[in-house]
């Protein structure tokens, strides 16, 4: 029987990774929007007036930033699946990212609600650049693992 639990895991991981890629793209876009905010012509015209456009955008950014936790959970979920299926190689490939996620969540700023990003520090050029870089790296990782699962 070709359709083992491991195969099922791979299929599931494939689908979930597709979702993660989507998240990563959203993440990148969100930070890019934050960074280039001042280049938005609507914003330039009225420094204060929040137009409908802008409110929508702010919401989008907020949603994107909230997707971090689901992303971590999904990744954790299929790591557990691979563990159950005894796919050690695949698990090893994913472990560094898992460890990174754990570390990232542990070192988050003091907060009473789940979340990673502190609105008061996010505008710091270093943090913004770091988050953007993080987004790109993750996108690359998910893309590679997508193809790995596809052919694995």
């Amino acid at each position: 029987m070709a359709f083992t639990f491991a195969a099922f895991c791979y299929m599931l991981a494939l689908l979930l990774t597709a979702a993660l890629i989507f998240f990563a793209i959203w993440h990148i876009i969100a930070f890019d929007e934050l960074k280039t905010d001042y280049k938005n012509p609507i914003d330039q015209c009225n420094t204060l007036n929040p137009t409908v456009e802008k409110v929508k955008k702010i919401k989008r950014v907020k949603i994107a930033l909230k997707l971090v936790l689901p992303e971590y959970l999904i990744h954790f979920f299929f790591c557990v699946m691979f563990f159950c299926a005894a796919e050690w190689l695949t698990l090893c490939l994913n472990l560094p990212l898992l460890a990174y996620h754990v570390w990232r969540y542990m070192s988050r700023p003091v907060m009473s609600c789940p979340g990673l990003y502190d609105p008061t520090t996010i505008m710091n050029a270093d943090i913004l650049a770091f988050c953007q870089k993080e987004g790109w790296c993750k996108l690359a990782f998910y893309l590679l693992s997508f193809f790995y699962y596809l052919y694995g």
Binding site: L34, T47, P50, S112, M123, D126, L128
Partner: protein
Amino acid sequence: MAVQHSSPTNGATHFHEHTSSRPPSKPCEPCCKLNSILQLGATSLLVPQCYPAPWPTDAPTSLHGYIQPGAAPQPMNPMVPNTYQPNRAPYGPPPTGPPPTMKPTSPPTGPPMANATPPPPKADEPVAGNGPQAPNSYNHVDNKMAGPPQPGPPGRHLGHYPSLPPGYQNTSAPHNATPPMHPAMQAATQPYTQAPQPYQQPPVGPGPAQLSPSLAAMSLQSSTPEALRVVNLLQERNLLPPSPIPAPTPCLPQDLQKINCNPEVFRSTLTSIPQTQSLLNKAKLPLGLLLHPFKDLSQLPVVTSSTIVRCRSCRTYINPFVSFLDQRRWKCNLCYRVNDVPEEFMYNPVSRSYGEPHKRPEVQNATIEFIAPSEYMLRPPQPAVYLFILDVSHNAVETGYLNVFCQSLLDNINALPGDSRTKVGFITFDSTIHFYNLQEGLSQPQMLIVSDIEDIFLPTPDSLLVNLNECKELVQDLLKSLPTLFEKTMETQSALGSALQAAFKLLSPTGGRMSVFQTQLPNLGVGALQSREDPNQRASAKDIQYLSPATDFYKKLALDCSGQQVAVDLFLLSSQYCDLASLGCISRYSAGSVYYYPSYHHQHNPAQVECFQKDLKRYLTRKIGFEAVMRIRCTKGLSIHTFHGNFFVRSTDLLSLPNVNPDAGFAVQMSIEENLDDMQTVSFQAALLYTSSKGERRIRVHTLCLPVVNSLSDIFAGADVQAITGLLACMAVDRSVTASLSDARDAMTNASIDSLSSYRQSVLTIQQPGLLAPACLRLFPLFILALLKQKAFRTGTSTRLDDRVFAMCQLKYQPLAYSLLMIHPALYRIDDLTDEGALNINERTIPQPRLLQLTVEKLSREAAFLMDAGTVIYLWIGRNCNPTFLSQVLGVPSYAAVPDNLYLLPELDTAESQRTRAFIGWLRDQRPFFPSLHIIRDESQQKASFLQNMIEDRTESALSYYEFLLHVQQQISK
């Protein structure tokens, strides 16, 4: 002869060192401590400095060997001997050998010459029109500068060193030695700037023709001899100028500089902006701006016009540094877009003439205020709303602050900024929240108590905030009865969090200002805090913990407040730990201010009471702007890296300030994203949009213009040591919160080490022994040491956590002028004040004593000294103090009769007393807060805090100034 022998190889290696050390900056990268350390991580004082090709490996005799190659590419070597000799005189006359050997050595160094031949005209470019004449022009400058009667900068600086030992005075005008040195430096640095950026050549080559004559003349002075004069810090002791240091002037053409922004309002750490980020990294100095945008100004042009002229693409306000292409078009100085001049702008209301757009006030003033039309309003201007939230728990009543507060408010109730719509409200709290219904028509104020602090609600939302004019009597009644109302309270708990939530609900429709008076750790309901301080750890040299907030409740609330245009000002009057690190967030992110009165008590601490009274008066009556935003724009290529101060950053260049007050300062770190090639100047514009207390929407615009330079020596020449210190302090505060205090301390030390070693390696062509610094940075190590010994960053000395955190807050949001005094206090001898050189302000004569170095050595038992440490002034009286001073100023017969706790100078009718009081009064008038005066004797308890400010002296846990210099030198020569 020996020198000549060695020269080919020596020259070659030398050349190598230069070309390979400069552009690569790779080997240097790990030690870019300023940039890497303050921003990234991993610090150690002992990080090995990997400078390429260690110079010291050469035999010590080859000192001259270095000189030659450095000078070799430089065609004007006849000048060179003149250059060095006077300068080196104090270190022993140079062997007669080197100068003659200079010329012979230059030909053998083939490669450098080949490379160096193009630069000379370039090197001359900023200095004079063409190469061959250059020496003459230097001579000319020399003569001009050397003339002692010449007024202006050189003369002024001469006056700064009157107490130099004779050895130094021999060098009489050091600056007349240095100007010729400048080309040498330029030539030496040329290969580098040239190698990585060959494309610079075209714009620079024909340069002289392009430069306006005035700019050329200015940049001639840009090699300001004085700023770059080499100072050996280990040998020259009296570096502190006798009077406060003025801000350095950017090297701009005179007509631009004349209208440039006041340095008190807008100041840059580097008055010459480096052309590229890599050049900035090489200089290892931080680039940033320090702003005091809402400063009370005596003269401020205000413009009312229906259209405010702004750049169409980047929205920059028109300013003095734009260029008019013709009558009808102007070119933005930030994004270089060409814009049309609107019809209205052609008419000049001041001169009532038409067709002179460049004469308009907008184009004549770097600081200007516009009255904004309705496009700049989010909603109709709201009334000024003031809400006072008062702690009335047992602890609060015990301190007795309520009396002072109510009395101050009663006294100043008519001086509150506002118009006929101004509203006020009061909330008091202990374990419950008390609201006061002040609705018109009531016979007396009505107190409403809400005890459900978990789910707070407003009992009568409409009548809690009332119009001040209509209900003034009720408000006054309330203020008179408040202190007695809670006299007998036994409630010890404090539900600050709920009170803040209630206040937020009350203010959110209109926005406004909350003033919170808190005397203890909030311990009930939301936002309750636990004591985190361990008193035994106060003096520990280990890392200080708990500098970051314990909960994000206050931060989140502050962000909500910021969104609703509410600012929260915190007055903390307490004797115990209050966790300012957590509580302070409420003001920090809502653009409020924090006042802290440790050990406040109405009887035991009269100095604090006076301080509180005066601060409160200023606080209640000072100007205020509501619903403000501040945007900082800069020329394309520059970008903002980090902001420092109290605000919420809404966008990369936009600060949200629910309230703005005239005592708030801001700092901005900048980075250079794109090269600033072929730009001669860059501009920065800070635009503050706010609603005045009269309900007018206004925009205050400050524009600063700075020159761009491409050589390291010019960058160093333009360094503003005070601004650099201020910015470093802000960066270090951030560092100690995100990383650790010791990390921040290391980073500060490294900042001084790095910049001085970079100066030594890249700018200095002669290598002398000692710790060398350019004259403009001569105080840098001193200021860094002062920072290390400042309350915020010191270790080893017992410091209460709240005191430390408060000092950090102050460093972050105080304008530079005030924070500098906190860092490096001013010491004066005041028992022999004379009217010589006194200022005359409003018919009062204010004596100007000399600034003294902060060392016990300067104190003497026969005298009295005044130390101005920003928030506090100490008057120290020596044991054998001049009896005239005691009797004429203090009004006591003898030293023994000086009372222990004296906070006031008696108003005696003697010349000495008047002079002293005039001087202290003048010091106090210069700042918005009220420094309390402590008169201390040799055996007073306060003596320790006085002596702690003796920065140059050694303490148990900290280095003396000289030891620190040795440490720096050791690190540099590593």
